[in-house]
């Protein structure tokens, strides 16, 4: 395998907070030691429920948040502690698309100015002129290049998301962190944006870190998938492994909780987790999932399971009692009474 475009080791983010009447210092352990690689042209999907740390991870990758510990290597270079100035040339290769197409565009700037901003900030003068490059980008994302002088409020949510994508593409990046890029959009518009991102990936050989809570969209868009729970990756592997042969109990439970259009009238094998995700202020000892896990034993409370490949499978799982290798997750098809 070629060298990874992005190499993340031990990535950690703790937010300091004060707690209780005396304001005792405490740390929200939002992200707690992540390891993963992303190769050129590939998509890694990060999936998990709210509070699992997926957004914090995305922001650290583009250095919008400072990691507490760990390292981020991009194209073989450690960028974890680079200063603003040293980071600037790297930002050309490393871009982010945000969830909310309303708050992520400056309402006082025209679309032309918004998309040209990355060029201006980086002092780049495209061959045919800035305006021609911006219009080319607008066309690339399926917007009318004539709308160069319009303001964000004149566009619909889906069109605004396209503006955000054009801005991310302006510097011809190699990697884009897409943080819930379609979750604010209507279903029919989501598919437009997902198709656009897929076309762009094929055309421009982009790598993506695709962050979303929607398991079906992550599966559709990502060849490799990492499942997160309370600041940890609990399972990572190829799409087919994660979705057809999940080995971590949480992955299994998550998949079985998704209401499936194709499964009405059938009783699937359902796993119902009880309770809510614990607070990252004081995560459970050992395996963080053990408080909701039906397989948990004493060892789960005392020892944290490492994320490792087991029994020759390429899929890595952090569990003391993973599902056996190669067992296809069964879907019991009894017609409901």
């Amino acid at each position: 395998m070629t060298e990874a475009l992005l190499r993340v080791r031990g990535l950690t983010k703790h937010f300091a907070v004060r707690q209780g009447a005396i304001g005792a210092k405490a740390a929200v352990r939002a992200v707690d030691g992540l390891d993963f690689d992303v190769h050129a042209g590939e998509t890694l999907g990060l999936v998990g429920e709210s509070g699992c740390g997926k957004t914090t991870t995305g922001r650290m990758l583009v250095r919008l948040l400072e990691p507490t510990a760990g390292s981020i290597e991009f194209q073989g270079r450690d960028i974890t502690t680079l200063g603003r100035r040293a980071m600037r040339p790297l930002r050309q290769d490393l871009q982010i698309i945000f969830q909310d197409p309303y708050s992520s565009l400056n309402p006082r700037h025209t679309v032309g100015k918004i998309v040209a901003m990355p060029l201006e900030v980086n002092g780049i003068k495209p061959a045919g002129g800035v305006k021609a490059r911006v219009q080319e980008l607008l066309e690339l994302v399926g917007l009318n290049p004539e709308h160069y002088n319009r303001f964000p409020h004149e566009f619909s949510g889906g069109q605004r998301q396209r503006i955000g994508i054009a801005r991310a593409l302006a510097l011809r990046p190699k990697l884009i962190v897409a943080d819930e890029p379609v979750s604010a959009l209507d279903v029919s518009i989501q598919a437009q944006v997902v198709n656009l991102l897929r076309d762009l990936q094929r055309e421009l050989d982009l790598a993506f870190v695709f962050i979303a809570h929607d398991l079906a969209i992550v599966r559709h868009f990502s060849r490799r998938v990492a499942v997160m729970y309370l600041g940890k990756v609990v399972e990572i592997g190829d799409r087919a492994d994660i979705y057809e042969r999940p080995r971590h109990p949480y992955t299994k439970a998550l998949l079985s909780a998704v209401p499936d259009v194709t499964a009405f009238g059938e009783q699937r094998q359902r796993i119902r987790l009880t309770g809510d995700v614990p607070t990252p202020l004081n995560p459970p000892s050992g395996c963080r999932f053990r408080t909701r896990c039906w397989k948990a034993q004493d060892v789960c409370a005392s020892e944290e399971p490492p994320l490792v490949a087991r029994e020759g499978s390429g899929q890595q799982v952090a569990c003391h009692f993973p599902e056996p290798v190669g067992v296809v997750s069964e879907h019991v098809s009894e017609v409901a009474a």
């Binding site: 209507d186 518009i189 198709n195 809570h213 209401p259 499936d260």
Partner: protein, 349 residues
């Protein structure tokens, strides 16, 4: 939909029209919607933002501001006409015969009052002869029934002390305080994580079996509808475009808009390399709904200009019993097109 076919539906909506006047013009939020719903059945109303799905349910609850809303048509609840009822009469019905669960329980619950106080108030509004102790007992029973641990302790807590899933359970408990025959749930799980959503959907299904209420579930999520509903009403541009059982609408949809929705959603099981087939363009503004079929500007199969751009298609029965579709295309062509072009894309596969 042969269920209880002999008896009239508990809720019968006929040619409902809801219009708002705004500075930009008249908004035709609901434009001639008709459907019936029996007790013990769940109707899923599906549509994107601005399709009129929430406005329809607010009209049933009588929650529109009469000063700027024009409502016409008929809404019969247990045989009683709701359109034109006074505020006072509506207030007697609301909470007792028909109750609502909102998307965001944090803004639907009062932040300054304990959960218990709000539950007791909901009960005593309709049971003025009930003592405080009786109302409290009812509240504790309901909290327990919706799966909130330690109801005694939770009774005295404030909404902010509950997690999102637990708060939604409180909302459900409150809606059930007076044992309503019709429950309207507007995106009840949209704000929740998927594992918590599964708990709440299971709870709603259990409660329905127990209380034999009619449920209207409003959602944009076709997966949620497939799991919970018996029937589906698909709305677009303020009108109903398709209505049938879940199996009819999800497995043999006949409206091109329904096709567009199914082909826009990636599947958990299908081939991930097959590209989705989005609907082109954007949903219409309800101030300026396109003439004829509201969907015709986005429809790949529209016959233009006539009849699709000229005449509003009626919601008419098709061959399958109880399945209704508002589309000008001939039925056989719709069936063939679905089989040839849609049935292998997105969640339709």
């Amino acid at each position: 939909m042969t269920h209880d076919a002999a008896s009239p539906p508990y809720l019968q909506v006929d040619d409902l029209r809801v219009r708002f006047s705004t500075a930009d013009g008249e908004v035709r939020a609901v434009d001639g919607v008709s459907f019936g719903l029996h007790r013990g059945r769940t109707l899923g109303i599906v549509g994107e933002s601005g399709s009129g799905k929430s406005v329809t349910s607010l009209a049933v609850m009588g929650l529109h501001d009469p000063a700027r809303t024009k409502i016409s048509g008929a809404i019969k609840l247990g045989g009683r006409e709701l359109v034109g009822l006074s505020d006072g009469e509506m207030r007697k019905l609301r909470g007792r015969d028909v109750a609502m669960i909102f998307q965001d329980p944090l803004s639907a619950l009062h932040p300054f009052y304990t959960v218990g106080r709000q539950l007791v108030e909901a009960y005593r509004t309709h049971h003025s002869d009930a003592s405080k102790a009786q109302a409290k007992q009812r509240a504790l029973d309901m909290l327990d029934r919706v799966g909130i641990p330690q109801p005694d302790r939770r009774f005295g807590q404030y909404p902010h002390e509950f997690s999102g899933g637990m708060r939604q359970r409180v909302m459900i408990a409150m809606s059930l305080m007076n044992d309503p025959a019709l429950l309207i749930a507007d995106e009840p799980t949209t704000a929740l994580d998927v594992t918590v959503q599964a708990q709440i959907l299971d709870l709603l299904a259990d409660l329905q079996r127990e209380f034999h209420s009619a449920i209207i579930l409003i959602t944009h999520d076709l997966g949620v509808v497939s799991q919970v509903a018996d029937e589906v009403l698909v709305m677009y541009g303020g009108r109903a475009v398709e209505h049938g059982t879940v199996a009819q609408v999800m497995r043999g949809p006949q409206h091109p808009y329904t096709w567009g929705l199914l082909a826009s959603i990636p599947s958990l099981h299908g081939d991930p390399e097959v590209d989705l087939k989005p609907i082109k363009g954007n949903p219409p503004s309800l101030i300026n709904v396109p003439a004829g079929c509201a969907f015709h500007p986005r429809c790949a199969y529209a016959m233009k200009p006539e009849p699709c751009a000229g005449q509003v298609p009626q919601l008419l029965a098709v061959q399958a019993d109880g399945h209704r579709v508002a589309c000008h295309l001939p039925e056989q062509q719709r069936i063939d097109t679905y089989t040839d072009e849609i049935a292998h894309v997105g969640v339709a596969q």
